[in-house]
C-alpha cells in the first residue's frame, strides 16, 4: 500500500459506502420522525443545526477533493482551509435558520452564540478530529516509506562496490596471462565474471544460498590466488547439507574481501584464508579466518564494510544475529557470523 495523501484521506473520511449511507439515512429519518412525534421541536431544530454544520464541512471537503493531487502528500493546508470555510459557512447559515424558527417558539433555552459554538464543536468532533488523526497517520506512513527507500538505496550501494584498484589490477594480470598463458587467462576471466555477478547482483532476488555464496567466495579467492601467486592459499568448505540454506547476498563476500585486504595484502609472505560453516543449536555459524597481518596493536579502524554488515544484520534479523572479529586459538584472525537457522531448506 502506498501512503495516503490528503486526497485519498478525504475520500476515505467523507465518502460513505452504500451501506453506510443507507444506515445513516435510516437513522436520520428515525430521529426526525421520533422527535416530531414526541413534539421535541426545539431539540430537533438544534439537532438539525449540528447536522447542517457537519454537512457543510463535509461539502467543503468534497469540493476541494478534485483540486488535490492524487498521490502526493501535499495539499493538507488546502484541505483544512476547505473544512474550515465549509464548517463556518454551515454554522453561520444554520444558526441564522435556527433564529428564524426560534422566532416561532421552536427553540430550547440556548442563546444564539451557544448554538453557534455547539455547531462548531460538533463539526470539530465529527470531522476535524478524524482528519487530524488521518493526517498524522498518513505522515507517519510517508516517513516510513521514505525510510524504506533510503534503506534500499543503501543496500543497492552496498551491492555495487567494485573497487577500481581491484578491477584494474585484475585486468592487468589477465592481460599478461592472455599473452603468455591463454588458458589461465580464460580461467581468470571466468572467476572475474562470476565475481562481478556478485558485485552487481540481481536486486529482485535479495536472498541467496550458502552454496552460492561459498561458490562466489571461491571464485574471488581463486582470482586473488592467481594474482598473489604462491603466497596465497585458501580453503572454502561448504558442508553439503547446508548448500540450500538461505543467506543474504554479499555478507560472506564482505568478510572474505576484508580478510584479503587486511590480512593478506599487508603481510609479506605466505598467507592462508579459510572459509567454513557449521550448525549448532539453531545457529548457523560462518567463519572466515586468515593467518595474515592480524589485528596488531592499532586502536582505530576506518572500514565501513563491517559497519554496513552490522546494520544489515540488525535490519534483517534484529537481535537474533551477531558478528564478531576475534583472535582464534592458533593466533589467526577470525570473522564470525552467527545467524538464526531453521531446519531444512528455507
Amino acid at each position: 500500500m502506498t501512503h495516503l495523501g490528503p486526497a485519498a484521506t478525504v475520500t476515505r473520511l467523507v465518502w460513505p459506502s452504500w451501506r453506510q449511507a443507507m444506515v445513516s439515512l435510516v437513522l436520520l429519518v428515525a430521529l426526525l420522525v421520533g422527535g416530531w412525534w414526541r413534539q421535541a421541536y426545539g431539540e430537533l431544530a438544534l439537532f438539525s443545526v449540528l447536522v447542517l454544520t457537519a454537512g457543510a464541512g463535509t461539502a467543503g471537503l468534497l469540493a476541494v477533493r478534485p483540486l488535490l493531487p492524487d498521490s502526493a502528500s501535499v495539499g493538507w493546508t488546502r484541505t483544512w482551509l476547505a473544512l474550515l470555510l465549509g464548517t463556518l459557512a454551515g454554522a453561520v447559515l444554520a444558526t441564522w435558520a435556527y433564529r428564524a424558527v426560534g422566532g416561532q417558539g421552536l427553540a430550547v433555552d440556548l442563546s444564539l452564540a451557544q448554538v453557534f459554538l455547539a455547531a462548531l464543536g460538533f463539526a470539530v468532533l465529527a470531522l476535524a478530529v478524524p482528519l487530524a488523526y488521518a493526517q498524522r497517520q498518513s505522515q507517519a506512513l510517508h516517513l516510513a516509506s521514505l525510510e524504506q527507500a533510503a534503506l534500499s538505496a543503501e543496500l543497492r550501494s552496498l551491492q555495487a562496490q567494485v573497487e577500481p584498484h581491484f578491477l584494474y589490477n585484475t585486468l592487468a594480470n589477465t592481460r599478461y596471462l592472455a599473452r603468455h598463458a591463454p588458458d589461465k587467462a580464460v580461467q581468470m576471466l571466468d572467476h572475474l565474471i562470476a565475481y562481478l555477478h556478485t558485485a552487481l547482483p540481481d536486486l529482485r532476488a535479495p536472498a541467496s544460498t550458502l552454496g552460492r555464496e561459498f561458490e562466489l567466495a571461491q571464485h574471488y579467492l581463486a582470482l586473488m590466488a592467481i594474482r598473489f601467486g604462491d603466497r596465497l592459499t585458501y580453503q572454502v568448505d561448504c558442508p553439503p547439507p547446508l548448500v540450500q540454506t538461505s543467506l543474504p547476498p554479499l555478507m560472506l563476500m564482505t568478510l572474505v574481501e576484508n580478510a584479503v585486504k587486511h590480512g593478506v595484502e599487508p603481510k609479506p609472505g605466505a598467507v592462508h584464508v579459510g572459509v567454513s560453516a557449521s550448525i549448532s543449536a539453531q545457529t548457523l555459524t560462518i567463519i572466515v579466518s586468515d593467518n595474515g597481518a592480524g589485528l596488531q596493536d592499532k586502536v582505530f579502524g576506518t572500514g565501513v564494510g563491517l559497519r554496513n554488515l552490522r546494520e544489515r544484520l540488525a535490519m534483517l534479523y534484529g537481535e537474533q544475529a551477531h558478528f564478531e572479529l576475534r583472535i582464534g586459538a592458533d593466533g589467526s584472525t577470525e570473522s564470525v557470523l552467527n545467524l538464526p537457522y531453521a531446519e531444512g531448506p528455507q
Binding site: 577500481p164 584494474y168 589490477n169 594480470n173 609479506p268 582505530f300 576506518t302 559497519r307
Partner: protein, 246 residues
C-alpha cells in the same frame, strides 16, 4: 650514463613479470638489478644495489611504495606504478615524479622511460615534500579495537558513549559493555575529536550525540547527563566554554 640500474617492485608476480618484459623491450640498455615482491624486500635490495631508477607499486605488503620512496633520498629516480590512486595521480601531475597506471599502456610507458632517461642526467629531485603531501590523511575512524578480559571486541564508534582515562588504560563505555584500550586517553583525544567526540575533562571524552544536558550544581560545578547511560560526567573549567548557552 650508459647502463642505468633499475629496481622493480610489485607484490603481484605476474605484474612484476609484465613490467620486466616491457622494460626489456622498451629500454634494452637498462640493467635490471633487483626485483622485489614486497616493501621490506625492496628496501633491502635498494640499499644493497643502489639503483638509479625504481619502478614501485604503491600498495605493497610490509611497506608501501610511498614510504619506500622516502627512504631513497636523492639517490634514485622513482616511477610509481599503480592501479588506481586518485591522490597520487593528482600529485604526480605536478611533474616531480612520474607514474604509470596499471594495466599500463605501452606508449605511456615508453614516454615515461624517455622522460626518465632525460632526467638521469641530473640528480633525482628531493621528493620528501611531495611525498609528505601524498601520504593521505588518515580517514576518520569508524571503529575501535578494545578488550574485555581476554576477548578483543570491535566496537563501532557510533555505539560509544564515552571514554574514561584509567591509569595506563582507557575505558570505553557503550550501552551494552565496557572494554579497555591499552592506549592512554590523551593519545586518542585528537583522533576522537574528528569523530564527533568532545573532551570535557582531563579524564573524559564524550560522544557529543550522547550528551542529554549540562547542569550546574550548587557549588557551580558543571555536570553532564547522558543518554542511554546513568553516569554523570564532570566538565572541567577548561572545557566549559563548550557549554555556554548561545
Amino acid at each position: 650514463m650508459m647502463q642505468p640500474r633499475v629496481l622493480i617492485a610489485d607484490d603481484e608476480p605476474l605484474l612484476l613479470a609484465e613490467l620486466r618484459g616491457a622494460l626489456a623491450s622498451l629500454w634494452p640498455e637498462a640493467v635490471l638489478v633487483a626485483e622485489a615482491a614486497d616493501g621490506f624486500e625492496a628496501l633491502r635490495l635498494a640499499r644493497e644495489c643502489e639503483p638509479d631508477v625504481a619502478f614501485l607499486d604503491i600498495r605493497m605488503p610490509g611497506m608501501n611504495g610511498i614510504e619506500l620512496a622516502r627512504t631513497f633520498g636523492r639517490r634514485t629516480h622513482v616511477v610509481f606504478v599503480t592501479a588506481h590512486d586518485e591522490h597520487a595521480v593528482a600529485a604526480f601531475e605536478e611533474g616531480a615524479v612520474d607514474y604509470v597506471l596499471k594495466p599500463f599502456d605501452v606508449t605511456r610507458l615508453a614516454r615515461c622511460i624517455a622522460r626518465v632517461r632525460e632526467r638521469l642526467l641530473q640528480p633525482p629531485p628531493d621528493l620528501t615534500r611531495l611525498l609528505a603531501g601524498l601520504q593521505s590523511k588518515p580517514a576518520t575512524p569508524s571503529w575501535i579495537q578494545a578488550s574485555v578480559g581476554q576477548t578483543i571486541h570491535f566496537i563501532d564508534l557510533a555505539d560509544v558513549i564515552y571514554f574514561a582515562a584509567e591509569a595506563k588504560y582507557t575505558r570505553v563505555v557503550t550501552p551494552s559493555l565496557e572494554a579497555h584500550i591499552r592506549t592512554p586517553l590523551k593519545e586518542l583525544a585528537d583522533t576522537l575529536d574528528a569523530a564527533g567526540f568532545w573532551q570535557v575533562h582531563r579524564s573524559y571524552v564524550v560522544a557529543v550525540k550522547s550528551i542529554a544536558n549540562a547542569t550546574r550544581d550548587g557549588d557551580g560545578a558543571l555536570w553532564l547527563k547522558l543518554r542511554d547511560h546513568s553516569a554523570r560526567l564532570p566538565v572541567s573549567q577548561r572545557f566549559q566554554h563548550r557549554f555556554r548557552a548561545a
